[in-house]
Symmetry: C2
Subunit: 345 residues, 2 copies
């Protein structure tokens, strides 16, 4: 074996947010690291959407994401709106009220200032909608050709009462599964913008800050676990909850909120819509008796109108996700190894 061949290299799949990313995190980022928790909060070990710090009777939730989406403008949004909504949603998935954002922007030399202005304008609009304050930032320029256009990293800070943090591992037998928006819209929107594809009917990204949806559910009570189906899509999110909660999740194909336009586009492209990334949607696992009330509450919010109860939690076949199809059969869903498309978010 030549020396070159013996070098293990990062592949696109390592960054796809699935099993390979998770393995890389476990084998590199968690290896030999001794300080794991800050003031007894949520840690990297938990592999959840955010970490946290306990502070008196509150918990400060912190999340970070780099956004590398290509193209930077797409139907329904741009890298600016994505960078705020994505991080707000990660904070919200722990049940924390988003309070503040800090952002670090790296642009390529020669990037048009007017384009930067449009992007910052999008960031501000989404921040205003939440509402969340952008309290600090960093701006760097890399020489031409050293980075493709722009990367925006945002870290979000949220607050939740101590020990009220909602983790992926909280799903319990008998719980109901709510999906809060039509799935797959962001994935198809990016793909169509990138490849210049046209589909019947309009498709635009669902990118949106969904703290309103989460808050409406939390106000009813009985929320046990939450995850936004980003890289890896609905199956990825359900699979992670099933694995961490040591339960199985059963969903009904007919109940999944999805538009025909997206189904048709997926058929044309040979893509499973259940694996498609969403950016304005959450999977919320709730106590059975509260499910209908929570659904009603969510449906009143701006970003929760398409919410549906799609299935429930069982305690056998732990770690697995099953789909009950429209013709009545049951098939186990294979957890994707990650998002097949690079730079989708």
């Amino acid at each position: 074996m030549s020396e070159e061949n013996s070098i293990r290299r990062i592949t696109l799949t390592h960054g796809a947010g699935g099993a390979l990313t998770s393995n890389l995190i476990k084998s590199i980022f968690l290896k030999g690291f001794s300080i794991r928790r800050a003031l007894d909060g949520v840690s990297l070990d938990d592999l959840d959407d955010s970490g946290s710090i306990k502070l008196m009777d509150r918990e400060v939730v912190v999340s970070i994401d780099s956004h590398t989406v290509d193209p930077i403008f797409f139907p329904g949004g741009d890298i600016g709106s994505l960078s705020i909504a994505g991080t707000v949603n990660d904070v919200a998935m722990l049940g924390a009220k988003p309070i503040a954002i800090v952002d670090a922007i790296v642009v390529e030399e020669g990037f048009p200032i007017e384009t930067l202005e449009r992007i910052v304008d999008s960031m501000n609009k989404v921040a205003k909608e939440v509402p969340i304050a952008i309290i600090s930032g960093d701006f760097k320029v890399m020489p031409k050709g050293k980075v493709d256009k722009v990367i925006i990293t945002t870290a979000g800070i949220g607050i939740v009462d101590e020990n009220k943090v909602v983790l992926d591992k909280g799903a319990k037998k008998g719980d109901k599964i709510i999906v809060t928006n039509n799935i797959g819209e962001h994935g198809i929107a990016i793909l169509s913008a990138r490849e210049g594809l046209k589909f019947e009917g309009d498709i635009s990204s669902d990118v949106a800050p969904i703290w309103d949806v989460v808050e409406s559910a939390m106000n009813v009570g009985g929320v046990h676990a939450m995850k936004d189906p980003t890289r890896g899509g609905l199956i990825g999110a359900l699979g992670e909850i099933a694995e961490k909660s040591k339960v199985s999740i059963w969903i009904d194909e007919e109940e999944i909120p999805i538009r025909d336009t997206v189904i048709n586009a997926c058929e044309m492209l040979g893509i499973d819509p259940l694996e498609l990334i969403c950016e304005g949607c959450a999977v919320i696992v709730v106590e059975s008796e509260k499910a209908e009330d929570i659904l009603k509450s969510i449906k009143k919010t701006k970003h929760g109108k398409n919410a549906r109860i799609v299935g429930e939690v069982k305690d056998r076949d732990r770690g697995k996700v099953f789909l009950r199809t429209s013709i009545g059969s049951v098939r186990p869903l294979e957890i994707p190894i990650g998002e097949p498309l690079p730079r989708i978010c």
Copy 2:
């Protein structure tokens, strides 16, 4: 004028951390933005090293920085140690005890996994030294050629008692200026590694987390302003403090801690050492009567052994910085428009 010429474009100087960066932030990032403060804390408007959130009787300080240093390994450190130390220091500059870090790593497809392991190892080592916990993270891969090797963005969280936050605007007439370490080492180390230059004597980056230095000063009391002389170097940091505090700062050339090796390298390269970036140094502005005690306290710390009192604050010629040279003349220092070298941090 052709259409192409009419497009305003980002230049490397826009990302150099000086006046042009500051103008860009004011004209783009602060324009039309309505939510400026989170829970009455420090905001983007303050253009300080970090933002903050007030929470009961504490203030949560938050800072973010993208690290794009080239080369990624250099004498004295690497992009991993820089990414932790840089953000820890930004949090510390507000007087807050660093508590937690979140990191977002973007790597180029094909990046060697062993190299990533070395970098993460550096991050962990510095985090352990502080000590600070890495509580959450993000990992993304960009296709080959779309980003040069690796970018690491870190956000840091620190805690300080309410209203004890130390801002750049706090310097007062009569205050003394302490520089806590030899200056210019990081800048020369990067330059020598990048260009393959050899200088007489060893030069390696001073990159280090300096919360120990800050804490030792804060424990004495009387700290009015702090800034780490990163992009723009010592003059840049002093200039910002002078401007925001509406004072002038007078420093004695002979008192500035700097090694002959660095002075010689700067002479060879035609660079002003006062503009060179440091990554393990702080400018601390302190109450005159406490200055000697603070200096003594700082000199006992691991990263403060080279600390010196270099000058003082006056209330005339506001916003300006003056150098008293070794031959007794006084010259005003021109605030640099930013760091002349791209990808220095």
